[in-house]
Amino acid sequence: MDRLLLGDNQFFGINHMSEEKARAQAMRFRALPAVLEVLDAAYDEGIRTFMCTTHERMAAVCDHVRAHPDRYAGFAFYPGMPYAHKYANAVTEDGMLGAIKRFLPDGGLLSAAVRGGSSVARKDIEGLTTLLIDAEMKIFDGLRTPVIFLQNVVVDLLLGLGFTDAFRIFADHVRTRYDAEPGFITMNLPVLVNALQDIGLENPIVCSNINKIGFRMCGGLEAYETVLRTGGVRAVAMSVFASGAIQPEEAVEWVCNQPNIEAIVFGASSRRNIRHTCELVSEHWGLSPSLVPAAAAAG
């Protein structure tokens, strides 16, 4: 796994501190070229992984990268599924079963639809889950997706319900069908790590908020520090800057001093911010070679 991953919250107008900032971002990234400009800047600054939700808007980014393999040599996507608001709004409109039916693939995939139908009849969630995963993964056809994440709304819902078999179903399907490592995004790292160990998922990739002020680190900073010290988990840190509540230098220095963090995922909207983050992370992790290409560093 790369040490520094570009996230996609900024492209969707997601900002945990301010609706105004969120809307300004949504306006700025309305059209594809603005998104690609940031992606290209990240690539040129040495970033090789884009961690993005399976929102339909990402299909155009996928198409672009597929069409320009030379420009994006070595580039990987880490899809995070599902884009949950799509499902939540569908449940409000159509009810629980109606929503499930709406998202089953149809047309051209007759066998898949039949599989889905029999799943509901057999009361077996496994077939349904794998169908939904395949539907979400369609936009990444032909692209490198070495890690596939399950989004925190779903992970934490299943975790709370005690529906941990679903993690096993997800992990198995992602490994066999996509030759990828399963990843789990959560706001409840300590509880999730225990649950994953209980179902025998060894050394899982888990992405969670890890920041100096303990923002949305459920279970508390101390519990997180214990999990990281103990190991047995491949931790990916997100919300390192706590949506801007911590100064970049202070935030990166702190997170890079925590043990066993394999990667940091960050959102940025400008080349300047991307470069600054690359420089800080390279410095505090003592990365060699540095994430910052020599030419860029000199320039």
Binding site: E19, H85, G95, V153, G162, N188, G214, F215, A245
Partner: protein, 382 residues
């Protein structure tokens, strides 16, 4: 351990179920729903005990509390049977469809010393709690006017039919969305003495409104307006915002931040300066034991469980305060029937002050549907 059952496994019920099951002081003893499919999946994969019959569950399963997240139209009946068995109740919002039912249930619970709560989770959003604290401290001086808003992308196409799209069962933008800013304004300003200029409009829904606008009047002369639209796809998800103007400043708050402008010379709460002050959710929000979709959902469940543990029948969001919200909703429904209060031409028929006859209503509906077919109706009154 507090023994809890969850009734109704829709979007909110499932989410509450996850939070309750993860709560260290809760023993989840049963879930109840009318869908045998959903029940069987839960039983198979989570091992939870499932019940298809609510009355039977109340009779057979020893319970301390029940969480009811069924369609609003069923609340009054289900809450009453739980209270009669001496069970504490957490009920989803809106509480009931009739204020008289809500008040009666509040008094039954009070007589029996039971803990009650309704799921107006915005009162557990740290930024809105900051607003409440500022108002209680008199930071704004006298509040002259407020604006309560909620927007989101629920119904963005002409389709869909669940209980949420039928007003008779407690669906629609008024019950589902507008109830939130109404409850917040009740919390901040007290109970309104009247409402006026209410507009309930359809945008896409066939059987209910998608937009709600109204003016609320408070004792002492304060006013508020609500502006709510659940067919606004420019919002990624539901966004609730409250703005308050006072003689000593202004507050704008949503779940992310609380922006406060205070006049020079006015008394200021600790940590606040004259001019603009901003408090973000990152600094205001208290940690919770388990996070799902927002700290406020966890915090409200914790509040309910702690009150049961401490045998405190008073607390935030009890049936009595939810009954006030139900009363405001009833006023809005009655007011919307009147149409425009002042008209341009006096020769036009006067505003309808009483509910029109059944025959007249039928004729209007026929005319309206004819206009809709002709493409003339861009979302007229529902």
């Amino acid at each position: 351990m507090i023994r809890v059952a969850v009734v109704g496994l829709g979007k909110m019920g499932i989410s509450h179920l996850a939070l309750l099951r993860a709560h260290p002081k809760v023993e989840l003893v049963a879930v109840c729903d009318s869908s045998s499919y959903v029940l069987s999946v839960l039983r198979k994969y989570t091992g939870v005990s499932t019940q298809a019959d609510y009355a039977k569950m109340l009779r057979d399963v020893p319970l301390d509390a029940v969480l009811i997240a069924t369609p609003t139209g069923t609340h009054a009946r289900m809450v009453r049977s739980a209270l009669e068995r001496g069970v504490h109740v957490f009920c989803e919002k809106p509480f009931t469809l009739r204020r008289t039912d809500s008040e009666e249930l509040a008094s039954v619970a009070k007589e029996r010393g039971l803990v009650t709560q309704v799921g107006y989770h915005n009162r557990f959003v740290a930024a809105f709690q900051e607003v409440k604290a500022l108002l209680d401290a008199g930071a704004l001086g006298t509040v002259t006017h407020a604006l309560g808003e909620a927007y989101g992308p629920v119904v963005t196409k002409p389709k869909g039919s669940t209980w949420r799209s039928r007003r008779a069962e407690g669906g629609g933008c008024l019950y589902d969305y507008a109830a939130h800013p109404i409850d917040l304004l009740n919390w901040f300003l007290g109970e309104p003495v009247g409402v006026g200029g209410t507009v309930l409009k359809r945008v896409f829904s066939r059987e209910t409104e998608d937009e709600v606008f109204s003016t609320l009047y408070y004792p002492g002369g304060s006013t508020a307006q609500i502006s709510v639209n659940w067919s606004d796809e420019s919002y990624r998800k539901m966004t609730t915002r409250v703005t308050l103007w006072g003689t000593a400043g202004r507050i704008v708050a949503d779940r992310q931040e609380c922006q406060v402008y205070l006049s020079d010379g006015a008394p200021r709460p600790r940590g606040y300066e004259a001019g603009w002050n901003v408090r973000y959710t990152t600094e205001l929000t208290e940690p919770v034991w388990f996070y799902l979709r927002g700290e406020e959902y966890s915090a409200q469940i914790s509040h309910f469980i702690e009150r049961i543990e401490g045998a405190q029948s008073d607390g935030l969001n009890g049936f009595d305060s939810a009954a006030v919200a139900d009363g405001v909703i009833a006023m809005l429904l009655a007011d919307a029937e009147k149409g425009a209060g002042t008209r341009l031409y006096e020769s036009e028929p006067p505003a309808v002050t009483a509910r029109p006859s059944r025959r007249l209503r039928l004729r209007r509906r026929l005319v309206a549907s004819g206009q809709a077919r002709a493409g003339l109706d861009a979302g007229g009154g529902s």
